[in-house]
């Protein structure tokens, strides 16, 4: 750990499986307050599942997840919902409500959870949209937005209630270089300006390493490496090395497990 900020999310001996397949097998993880922690790993390692476990949408088979010292899997629905008001989540698809405008999407959590007058909601929504550079787009419908804009609106919505933590699910996937750059900068500045804690789940190595304070690399249900940016870049672990340097073959094999090639062809 880089320094001794308090821990916001603590995960211990987490196990989670889908059918016969282990997604997580004994994972320990700490997320520090005020930092951007990246969770990286190849596709299919359950990074999104991890966010859903932290948000309490899924329950672990074994092990514990504490968010602000509350054990997520033991919380009542009411307590869980109260805690979620203080967590923002940015879905890969944006998950904007498609039948209402950009403005109403950002206003949605405010209208659901507060009794603020409409004039104040308007001010707050415009401030959040200004922060992501889309104040001018508040009248548009989600179908009129590009992928990058939709993610920025979803980010404005995720920070509408001034959460203590924001979770980003693959924020850079499928973005052109410009919107990728915009998102990288936004995640950094919003984390600082709002004094947030951020968890970024991603497999985009360069973008993520630019902003992350601390990095966990997952593969095959295990944490295969963790450390600061520099530590990860120079890691001796074969797994981490293969992932960070984008090598096609290594501990994560290029080939899906199969019969011997020669035998298979001659069968």
């Amino acid at each position: 750990m880089p320094d001794n900020n308090p821990i916001v999310v603590k995960i211990r001996q987490l196990k989670f499986s889908r059918g016969a397949r282990y997604i997580f097998d004994d994972i320990d993880l700490d997320i520090q307050r005020g930092k951007i922690t990246a969770i990286m790993g190849p596709s299919g390692t359950g990074k999104t599942t991890l966010l859903k476990l932290i948000g309490g949408q899924l329950r672990p088979d074994a092990g514990h997840i504490w968010v602000e010292e509350q054990n997520i899997s033991r919380l009542s629905t009411n307590k869980l919902y109260q805690l979620r008001r203080r967590m923002g989540m940015l879905f890969q698809s944006g998950a904007l409500l498609t039948d209402i405008s950009v403005f109403d999407n950002v206003a949605f959590p405010l209208r659901e959870h507060t009794n603020l007058p409409e004039s104040m909601i308007r001010t707050l929504v415009l401030m959040k949209l200004q922060a992501v550079g889309l104040r001018g787009a508040h009248r548009l419908m989600p179908s009129e937005l590009s992928g990058g804009m939709a993610r920025r609106v979803a980010l404005a919505r995720a920070i509408a209630l001034d959460p203590m933590m924001v979770m980003y699910d693959e924020p850079f996937t499928g973005q052109d270089p410009i919107s990728m750059g915009v998102l990288v900068r936004l995640i950094r500045t919003i984390n600082q300006a709002l004094d947030l804690t951020s968890i970024v789940v991603s497999h985009d190595v360069n973008e993520t390493l630019q902003i992350a304070d601390y990095v966990y690399v997952l593969s095959h249900g295990k944490v295969v490496g963790h450390g600061t940016n520099a530590e990860i870049r120079h890691s001796q672990s074969e797994w981490v090395h293969q992932f960070i340097h984008a090598q096609a073959d290594g501990p994560v094999p290029f080939h899906y497990p199969a019969l011997d090639y020669r035998d298979d062809l001659l069968r």
């Binding site: 949408q57 109260q82 008001r85 923002g88 989540m89 698809s93 959870h113």
Partner: protein
């Protein structure tokens, strides 16, 4: 070996059916729990009443009119041989109020509004909108499902009543205006149709159909696999199961009522 596999499949499918029924029941109870919060926010209900009820109105009006016209015509062709055309009004009215009004409007409702509800909710699930709401600490069962369920439940009996009423007018159009049977004889039925045993029972039927058809529609949407194929299958299931449920329950209710 093969027989073992057959039993294995049978057991697996039976378990699946019971699991789905169990999920549907829990879902129903959870949605009922969300009804009070919908009543506190009538705007949500209004919007759904419009899309489920008002937008189904044209289909119900046109279908009701034609069904009434056909009933009048068929009834006339049969009754004229017996010189009993003065009973035509009663035949049309009773057929509509007791059976065709509730049953046909339920079938039309499931095709028009039920399938739309399933597709909308299924797509909201597939595009993570429901999941997103959960993460914003908003319960989608209360915010999305409950208003839709209540709107369908309220709209269905109203649509059935409108269907029957417009059907009786359609019968009038053919029997009185086109064929020339005496209008007084046609409207004589209003004295013979009993409010409690005929009209009221018909409304009870449509309330039951409304409950079941809307329940099927919202549950299938919520339970759909979050893929395009999953949503398409769920929409089909809504229409098919609604038809089975409507016709099966109609028999059961008729046996109990009349």
């Amino acid at each position: 070996m093969n027989i073992l596999k057959v039993f294995q499949h049978l057991g697996h499918d039976t378990l699946n059916i019971f699991q789905t029924l169990g999920r549907a029941m829990l879902f129903f109870l959870h949605v009922l729990g969300g009804i009070p919060s919908v009543l506190m926010r009538p705007r949500l209900l209004m919007a759904q009443l419009y899309s489920v009820g008002v937008l189904s109105l044209a289909l119900i009006l046109v279908s009701g009119l034609f069904v009434g016209m056909v009933l009048g015509l068929q009834g006339y062709n049969t009754l004229v041989d017996f010189g009993a055309t003065e009973s035509l009004g009663l035949v049309v009215a009773l057929s509509l109020v007791r059976e065709l009004g509730p049953v046909l409007s339920s079938l039309l409702f499931s095709g028009r509004a039920g399938s739309a509800l399933t597709a909308e909710i299924g797509l909201m699930k597939a595009t993570e909108q429901l999941s997103g709401m959960e993460m914003m600490a908003v319960d989608p069962l209360k915010r999305v499902i409950a208003p839709r369920f209540l709107a369908g439940f309220l709209a269905m009996p109203l649509l059935a009543v409108i269907f029957s009423a417009i059907g009786i007018l359609g019968g009038h159009l053919v029997v009185v205006d086109m064929i020339g049977v005496d209008a007084g004889a046609y409207w004589q039925m209003s004295e013979k149709v009993d409010f409690f045993s005929d009209v009221f029972n018909g409304i009870i039927k449509s309330i039951v159909f409304g409950l079941v058809v809307t329940w099927i529609a919202v549950f299938e949407g919520y339970d759909a696999l979050p893929t395009s194929e999953g949503v398409s299958r769920a929409t089909t299931r809504t229409v098919v199961f609604s038809a089975f449920a409507t016709l099966g329950l109609d028999f059961l209710l008729t046996a109990l009522m009349f």
